[in-house]
């Protein structure tokens, strides 16, 4: 837990404008030279329910939400229910204050809207007593009154930001600039007035006794604040993807929305369709006809895509699907993250699977690996799945603007032109040998597109001959099946040679204890490893992104180099550890698991504690809602 960071939590009702307020505040912190990382908590009720966003900001790199937080701006829930509902839900107005206190660090700051919550309510939750115990500094402010006086009630967020800035001794310049970008006219005037009034009032009304101030830092290069969903969508755009089909489902909807909004100006096509079977089938149809196409969903919708996915494998149609995991089974926890769909995504659909699966762990990887997904899909004519989760989807982090300054890659990979088709092999009737296993370089048989001269063939989900006709001859079957499956070996070779960075290594290289994780748990684990090493332990870590084809050599080397390893993942059945054992056939006795499936992502401290309990073989359970799954044989 470092003192040089701000973790600001803004809490309020759904509809209180938490999103835009936090987005702008995060940008203001970023513009002031800090690294920022945001975490969004979603309520699980449709109507109402309160919510919060956390912004972690520091002069150093921040990779996760951190542990707990140190500044609460509780707006109160202005969308509080009607009196009848109070019987079910209790007092809603106070909840953004009362329900957020447990994770507030010692010495933290609380600002709440005394214009919205009553004195009696505050008394009822024993705020004063608790504040004393924890050395919290409490600042009641009439945010609602302030907003009403100079503008409208909804502007009380702005008042809250003004109070925050005063308490943290922040310059208002960046906040003002961002407001000016987002609004104009009377609304801007009113908001600016409220911002300054709140800032001045705070300074006038209170003597500050707290130590917390906004950190100061600087960036050498221009920064942009992006979510994982943005990064995936942008990776697709830069790979030349211009066709997307989908059906709404949280949290995948974000990627679908971003591309749907951008495509009309880019000559792209977006289709919202009747169900996810259709969505994947449309992407397949568009790809078959020559577009770089994608689809995606979350677990429930992805279940419907199993059949088109298998068809893409069998017909060797390039396709990119993204799967944004949320906690299952079934409808599960619709707005909470989990890494429980790994085995499902690896193996769903009948028959032996031949697909590539990447699990990006960071915003930058989300971009890189989506780009790579398109490159591999079109080069090797194979479906590639990018699996991520609600956490990576919604979190925002600052990224160097220059990171995105690169050439687009709309190349269609192993697709022939009409000129090239003239040279290609055809059967006696003039049909193109689309699935020609005899000369397939890298196990890839180049394809033609409908409408090209000299390229006609049949694509079929049945086993087929080189020109695509249904064919059950055993020799042909073995030749085609082997070629399709062995593409994965070729892809592995290419990844090893050209993209070793898909796995991220950190910590002490000489350590004999390893921590392994995958996907979006990366940030918390990487911070935990850093902290453990700072505290005198010797630990190395790796975050794996290549789920299929599995990075066998790299993982063997890593596991051979340690005596013990802990695999950290957000699911209940240790799916990734199972994959390692399946792929390597070894190391079962070396690996324990740290599992979390309560709907919240790992915090670094939980990983640290998991290590301590594990290593010391202490006879105690971890305090957090995590579970330790012993190594094989233990």
């Amino acid at each position: 837990m470092s003192d040089d960071e701000l973790i600001w939590r803004v809490a309020g009702g759904s509809g209180d404008g938490i999103d835009s307020t936090s987005q702008n505040f995060a940008k203001a912190l970023m513009r002031s030279g800090l690294d920022v990382f945001t975490h969004r908590h979603y309520p699980s009720r449709i109507r109402g329910g309160h919510t919060y966003v956390e912004i972690r900001a520091a002069a150093h790199e921040v990779q996760s939400r951190g542990d707990g937080y140190n500044f609460l701006l509780s707006l109160g829930d202005s969308f509080a229910r009607n009196p009848q509902e109070e019987a079910y839900y209790g007092n809603e107005e106070i909840k953004p204050l009362s329900e957020n206190l447990d994770e507030l660090r010692e010495g933290g700051i609380i600002v709440y809207d005394e214009g919205l919550v009553s004195e009696e309510d505050v008394e009822e939750i024993n705020l004063e007593e608790r504040a004393e115990e924890n050395d919290w500094h409490v600042f009641p402010m009439d945010l609602r009154g302030l907003a009403k006086e100079h503008g409208r009630e909804v502007m009380r967020n702005t008042a809250g930001v003004g109070v925050t800035a005063a308490l943290l001794d922040m310059d208002l310049e960046h906040i003002e600039d961002l407001m000016s970008d987002a609004m104009g006219g009377d609304i801007l005037e009113a908001n600016l007035e409220i911002l300054h009034e709140a800032y001045d009032m705070t300074n006038e009304e209170y003597e500050f006794e707290h130590d917390l101030r906004a950190p100061t830092g600087s960036h050498d290069t221009e920064q942009a604040l992006l979510s994982g969903s943005n990064a995936i969508a942008y990776g697709a755009i830069d790979a030349g993807c211009r066709f997307i089909a989908g059906y709404p489902m949280t949290p995948w909807t974000d990627v679908f929305t971003i591309l749907s909004q951008n495509f009309p100006d880019m000559g792209g096509i977006s289709e919202q369709v009747e169900d996810e079977i259709a969505a994947a089938a449309l992407a397949l149809g568009a790809s078959h006809a020559g577009a770089k196409a994608m689809s995606g969903s979350s677990g429930g919708g992805f279940a419907l895509m199993s059949e088109p996915l298998g068809l893409a494998e069998m017909t060797e149609t390039p396709l990119v699907l993204v799967e944004s995991m949320r906690a299952g089974p079934s409808t599960g926890l619709p707005t909470k993250p989990e890494q429980g769909d790994l085995e499902f995504v690896l193996y769903t659909s009948q028959g032996d699977s031949s697909r590539v699966v990447f699990a990006p762990g960071t915003i930058e990887e989300a971009y890189e690996q989506t780009r790579l997904a398109f490159e591999i899909a079109w080069d090797y004519q194979i479906p590639v799945i990018v699996i991520y989760d609600q956490k990576l989807s919604g979190e925002n982090k600052n990224v160097d603007v220059e990171f995105f300054d690169r050439e687009p890659a709309p190349d269609l990979g192993s697709t022939l032109t009409e000129e090239e088709l003239k040279e290609a092999a055809h059967d006696a009737s003039g049909k193109f040998k689309r699935f020609n296993y005899e000369d397939a370089e890298n196990n890839v048989a180049p394809r033609s597109l409908p409408g090209q001269k000299g390229g006609r063939y049949l694509a079929t989900g049945n086993e087929h001959s080189p020109v695509g006709h249904i064919e059950e001859d055993p020799d042909n079957r073995v030749a085609q099946m082997t070629r399709r499956i062995e593409k994965l070996d070729t892809i592995r070779d290419e990844l090893d040679e050209e993209h070793p960075s898909n796995q991220t290594y950190y910590g002490d290289d000489d350590a004999d204890y390893g921590i392994i994780t995958w996907g979006s748990s990366h940030g918390a684990v990487a911070e935990a490893v850093e902290r453990l090493n700072e505290d005198g332990h010797s630990v190395k870590g790796v975050t794996v992104s290549d789920m299929m084809p599995f990075p066998e050599a790299e993982m063997t080397e890593f596991l051979e180099s340690v005596d013990e390893a802990m695999v950290v993942e957000m699911n209940a059945t240790a799916q990734f550890r199972g994959l390692i054992q399946k792929e390597l056939g070894l190391f079962g006795e070396k690996m324990t698991s740290l599992l979390k499936y309560n709907g919240n992502p790992f915090e670094p401290a939980e990983v640290v504690e998991g290590y301590e309990v594990n290593l010391a073989e202490e006879d105690r359970e971890p305090t957090a809602q995590v579970r330790i799954e012993p190594a094989a044989g233990d």
């Binding site: 211009r242 369709v273 577009a291 687009p408 409408g451 249904i470």
Partner: protein, 311 residues
């Protein structure tokens, strides 16, 4: 300069071009109505000036799904019930292609029913041929969505308690802009209707009665058939929704009693196709998307230029 030079090629077209020069020969049973669909397509395609390589035939699963094995065009034999979403996306990606989707009554009206409704609703510019034999043939004779009430099969041993689906009425209500029924036993009409359906700009649905002599022996061979346009007994305006709806309803009713009515049921030439609707709201590229990837002058937008909103 197009990357797809088979499209729009002006030349004499021989119907034999649509017959694969090498195996496979059709494996449909002798007397199967599916031969009728194949034949009418081979006749209609050259007549409307289409060459094999500018046509994409997308099929589902079932006896009907084998159509593109025996019709020499570009083909995509997909999965059960999913020919329509594959077909309509291919058309969006390359609107210059002639896209024909085909499947059986189980494929299209059963498992793929949702796609049929929405493809009709959106009025995609494709032709959809449903081989309607009122039975599941490939899986050996189970009751299908169009099997008559009381139909006995291995899976409905006491006779189906279900009223058959009304394919023409459904299609009209869903939004198809061309709806017709023809029969394998009526080759001239079939060829004409298929040709019209291909030329129609919008979703053209042809319910094609294909007798199954193997698994639906009790069913009629769809003879004698009556062409509602030719017969003096029927008089309705094919461009009028209400009259079309009534005629369809009657056609579906009398089929149960063995009277086979066929012909054009509904034609709406004014309704814009989905592609036109999408263009009108500014969400269709002017240049076919599939062409763009071959266009060396194309300037590809990049995410770097979108970053202002994130700064």
């Amino acid at each position: 300069m197009s990357a797809f030079n088979a499209i729009g090629e002006e030349r004499e077209i021989d119907r034999d071009e649509f017959t694969p020069g090498v195996e496979p020969q059709p494996t449909w049973c002798p007397g199967c109505g599916d031969f009728g669909v194949l034949k009418s397509l081979k006749q209609a395609l050259p007549e409307v000036g289409k060459t094999p390589e500018e046509v994409l035939t997308v099929t589902g699963i079932g006896c009907s799904g084998k159509l593109n094995s025996y019709l020499d065009t570009y083909g995509f034999h997909t999965i059960h019930g999913r020919s329509l979403p594959v077909a309509r996306a291919a058309k969006l990606a390359n609107p210059e292609l002639e896209v024909i989707a085909a499947g059986g009554d189980g494929d299209g009206y059963g498992i793929g029913g949702n796609h049929w409704i929405h493809t009709a609703r959106e009025n995609h510019d494709i032709t959809y041929i449903v081989f309607n034999n009122e039975i599941f043939g490939l899986t050996k004779g189970q009751t299908s969505p169009t099997s008559p009430k009381g139909h006995k099969s291995k899976t409905q041993p006491s006779g189906s308690a279900k009223t058959p689906l009304r394919p023409l009425s459904m299609s009209l209500n869903a939004g198809a802009s061309y709806v017709a029924r023809t029969a394998a036993v009526n080759p001239n009409q079939a060829k004409e209707i298929i040709a019209e359906a291909i030329e129609h700009d919008g979703f053209a649905h042809v319910d094609f009665l294909t007798q199954c002599p193997t698994w639906n022996k009790d069913a009629r061979q769809y003879v004698p058939y009556i062409d509602v346009q030719e017969s003096d007994d029927y008089d309705f305006d094919v461009h009028d929704r209400r009259e079309a709806a009534e005629m369809m309803y009657e056609t579906e009713d009398v089929l149960k009693e063995g009277t086979v009515l066929t012909g054009r049921y509904y034609i709406d030439d004014d309704r814009p196709s989905y592609q036109q609707e999408k263009s009108a709201v500014g969400e269709m590229p002017d240049q076919p998307l599939a062409e763009r990837y071959f266009d060396e002058d194309s300037e590809w937008e990049r995410s770097y230029d979108l970053l202002d909103r994130h700064k």
